[in-house]
């Protein structure tokens, strides 16, 4: 058995001795250093740029503008509306305008200060509510990026049947991924005349495609390699340094290094979308939720990035893991001149979980029900219909996660006025929403008698390499020594899709499983399981092509209806319940998270140690989201004013794994990366209410907000 073992990560040994090569560690002789010259205005026409002094300054080799782009100056994961380098207009503070290539980093950074630019300011749209009606257009087609609805049942009837109505508005802030390694990479021409980009990334094949369009060079002449990556969380999905590196190499014909400073990373990296959520819940006396009506307004900044995804995913998940007969969700995403918001661990669902879990507690309190009981009463079960009217047939573990937590909930004791307990539940669709999002994997037999797994899945710290290797081991009955991983290189792997949406275990795992089935059959035919060695099989195979077995998996989904979102947007869902104990210091408003019990239905635990790691990391991010993290444009630019949890902010955690197997997943596995974070902030907010009687409707609920709430409650 290789599945379910407390296997150590295959990359851990290198990492504890400091050996892995992150992009910044590549030494490339003769490399230039590239820096980005960025906008300091949120919305302006560029009247004039004078880079002559910068170009003439010592050590400067080239300065590139959009005019130097041979292909298309546009990119974007879904809607392509983001320019690599601004043309005549800038739309946010931090927007790239020029690339300066210097002999050294120092020369390049110094030269940035010599560039003169004249702006003509345009009306700044800094509020999504104003954006829709504004005559100032951020893009020609208008300021509404996306509008999605989820409609199920009869909303009026649902509220008529309700005995109580709970109605509140919830708002959240911009968050930064704050991966410890900033965006960085190296580009160089290889000896075949191709352009190679090595970077810190979550998706090599996507980047290859974008670069190909940028340079108008066929994809096969672009090679993208993933360096060891110091965290992603969604922030290394969009093109960051990769496009600039490729363009620089294209012109300079020599290696180029780029690395954002932390300040630059804060300025330019996509953020978690701040959402404004109006939420109305109707419930009957017995606790059954009869209807919800939700309106979501989001601010995606000036470019789409993952705005459409968040708009839809937030809407689809607005009910939480509950079966609610009547649903009306209206979700809109607007362009503004604020920072670009994009993908961040959970794509809008953590924000919604904050809302629906707060509502759940409020409804329970109005009905004098236990928060636990109201959740279990409404929880999705086998056969339930989700908000998109998708019938859930398999792997619906929400009730089981609740049951894991129940004993702790029942015996909780709080210290009056000081400590409190809160619950948070969630469900999360694994993979992309209502679209095909396949992964490939390829297995080959090598001359030295090993099975090589070729995968394009990016290990960003979440542990996919180890998990995929375990799946392969299990499927073939092989020891780790018999396997080699060939990964993170567009030359040696086919597209596995992005490391995002908690999809690699499930989808790339599925592809590996598929390839392994074929390989197993082949090995079986060749007598491997009767004792013949792999090397022997290799040597005796005349047609080496037969040594290769390709695997593929695309989760069975259906597109959602454009009007009602009816459909099966995800093939499977993860479920979780967190219970959190907090202690509030009333004098200062500081809230300490003492203990978290977290139960997750992962389908099947491939690597429990990794799973716990994801849960703990998700909880840390949830603590940050709930209590301290807030990116304020124009103010936040370092870890000195963007706080994220330290070791001393972390609670004790007890993690429970629920395995309600998913038949379409490899050995029954689903995903976990994002679910670990999603319910955490919600459970903290509920615990604060339990401890103090005040409820936060705005996150983060940092010391100042909480103290002010406590003061107001006194009056």
């Amino acid at each position: 058995m290789y599945i379910g073992n407390e296997t150590n990560r295959i990359d851990a040994l290198d990492k504890v001795v400091g050996r892995p090569i992150y992009a910044e560690d590549l030494s490339v002789p003769g490399a230039l250093f590239g820096c980005v010259f960025r906008s300091v205005r949120p919305h302006a026409l560029i009247r004039r740029i004078d880079a002559s002094a910068a170009l003439a300054s010592s050590g400067i080799v080239k300065i590139l503008s959009y005019r130097d782009i041979p292909g298309e100056n546009i990119f974007g994961i879904i809607k392509k509306d983001q320019t690599y380098l601004a043309e005549d207009r800038v739309r946010y503070v931090g927007e790239p305008i020029l690339i300066v290539l210097g002999q050294t980093e120092e020369a390049a950074r110094k030269a940035l200060r010599l560039i003169e630019i004249e702006y003509e300011d345009i009306d700044v749209i800094s509020d999504p509510f104003i954006s829709g009606g504004s005559r100032t257009l951020i893009h020609e087609k208008g300021n509404l990026l996306s509008h999605r609805k989820v409609i199920k049942g009869d909303i009026e009837k649902g509220f008529d049947e309700a005995d109580v109505i709970v109605e509140h508005t919830y708002t959240t802030a911009w968050l930064d991924h704050a991966f410890m390694e900033t965006e960085s990479g190296v580009g160089y021409p290889d000896n075949k005349g191709r352009i190679v980009v090595v970077s810190s990334t979550q998706n090599i094949h996507y980047k290859q495609k974008e670069i190909s369009k940028l340079l108008a060079i066929p994809e096969e002449n672009i090679k993208v390699i993933q360096a060891t990556t110091g965290g992603g969380f969604g922030g290394k999905l969009d093109v960051t340094v990769e496009g600039f590196l490729a363009l620089s190499v294209y012109h300079a014909k020599r290696p180029v290094i780029m690395r954002y400073t932390r300040e630059e990373s804060f300025l330019s990296n996509t953020k978690r979308h701040p959402l404004y959520i109006e939420y109305k819940t109707g419930a009957r006396k017995d606790g059954a939720i009869t209807a919800i009506k939700v309106s979501i307004i989001g601010d995606t900044g000036p470019f789409a990035s993952y705005g459409e995804t968040v708009c839809l995913r937030a809407a689809v998940h607005a009910t939480g893991p509950y079966e609610i007969p009547n649903v009306h969700v209206d979700s809109k995403m607007f362009y503004t001149n604020n920072p670009v918001s994009g993908a961040m661990r959970g794509f809008g669902v953590p924000q919604l979980a904050f809302a629906h879990e707060s509502q759940m507690d409020e409804a329970a309190s109005m009905l004098k029900l236990d928060p636990f009981d109201i959740r279990i009463k409404n929880a999705l079960k086998k056969g339930s219909l989700t908000a998109t009217s998708q019938a859930l047939h398999n792997s619906v573990g929400i009730v089981e996660t609740l049951k894991k937590i129940e004993p702790y909930w029942r015996k909780r004791t709080r210290e009056s006025g000081k400590t409190g307990f809160g619950l948070g539940c969630m469900y999360y669709g694994i993979g992309n929403t209502g679209v095909s999002n396949p992964a490939n994997a390829c297995l080959t037999i090598t001359g030295d008698g090993k099975i090589a797994l070729h995968t394009g899945a990016c290990e960003i710290g979440q542990g996919s390499d180890t998990v995929l290797a375990q799946i392969l081991q299990e499927a073939l009955g092989l020891k780790m020594d018999d396997i080699v991983l060939v990964r993170g290189d567009t030359d040696t792997s086919k597209d596995a899709g992005s490391s995002s949406a908690s999809r690699q275990t499930y989808i790339s795992g599925g592809a590996v499983f598929d390839a392994a089935k074929k390989m197993r059959q082949y090995l079986d035919e060749k007598g491997f399981y009767k004792g013949r060695s792999i090397r022997d099989i290799y040597n005796s195979e005349a047609d080496k092509k037969l040594l290769e077995h390709n695997g593929f998996f695309d989760p069975p989904t259906t597109p959602v209806d454009p009007e009602t979102s009816k459909g099966s947007p995800y093939a499977t869902y993860a479920f979780a319940t967190h219970m959190t104990e907090v202690e509030v210091e009333k004098e200062t408003g500081s809230c300490r998270v003492k203990k978290v019990y977290a139960a997750h239905d992962v389908g099947r635990a491939i690597n429990p140690k990794n799973i716990r790691g994801q849960i703990y990391g998700g909880i840390a991010m949830g603590v940050g989201f709930a209590l301290m993290e807030e990116f304020i444009p124009g103010k936040s630019g370092s870890f000195d004013n963007y706080y994220m949890p330290t070791s001393m902010d972390m609670p004790d955690v007890e993690a429970f794994i629920v395995e309600d197997q998913e038949p379409t997943g490899p050995f029954g596995a689903k995903g976990l990366g994002e679910p670990a974070l999603i319910p955490q902030a919600a459970s903290i907010v509920n615990a604060i209410k339990d401890a103090t009687g005040v409820r936060a409707f705005e996150l983060p609920c940092h010391i100042e907000r909480l103290k002010i709430l406590l003061e107001k409650a006194k009056r």
């Binding site: 400091g18 050996r19 110091g230």
Partner: protein
């Protein structure tokens, strides 16, 4: 330029440094110690942590000229793949490593604690690593690893 002489990972070392050179860059560039990372450059993340006279310091805010005559340790001092330090082994076994970017600095802060305190409490461990941010792990398996290694180190002595 200044000539400096110091002890680096247990061995005598000397080099020439610019007056404004930072220890982080000296060690990365002149000594190829790439395990030191620059996550922020201004003393706010901990990825550049080194031990100076066995106490953790941020090498991004330490002028290289300061270390003349001192003892400097990086994670390479602890052990290599062939002979791991129990603390490194504990990090692997506890799952304390995800992306690994914070790991070298984290190990050094932990090591500095364990050589002073063979039986630290969880609070002492948390405090000792509170100057090293980790965005991936939520610290819990790191704390567990340090706790376990403390036991191991003690058994050995």
């Amino acid at each position: 330029m200044k000539a400096i002489h110091f002890t680096l990972n247990g061995k005598k070392a000397s080099c020439e440094v610019q007056d404004k050179e930072l220890l982080l860059h000296t060690l990365r560039e002149q000594f190829s110690l790439k395990s030191l990372k620059e996550g922020c450059g201004i003393g706010e993340c901990g990825t550049c942590t080194v031990l100076i006279d066995d106490e953790p310091h941020y090498s991004c805010l330490t002028l290289a000229s300061k270390i003349n005559g001192h003892d400097v340790k990086t994670v390479e001092y602890l052990g290599d793949a062939e002979l791991l330090h129990p603390l490194q082994k504990a990090f692997i076994d506890s799952g304390a490593v995800q992306c690994g970017y914070c790991t070298p600095g984290m190990l050094l802060s932990a090591y500095s604690l364990l050589i002073k305190n063979g039986d630290p409490s969880d609070d002492e461990i948390k405090e000792a690593i509170s100057g090293n941010l980790c965005r991936c792990t939520g610290y819990i398996q790191i704390i567990e690893a340090i706790r376990n290694a403390a036991g191991l180190c003690k058994c050995k002595s």
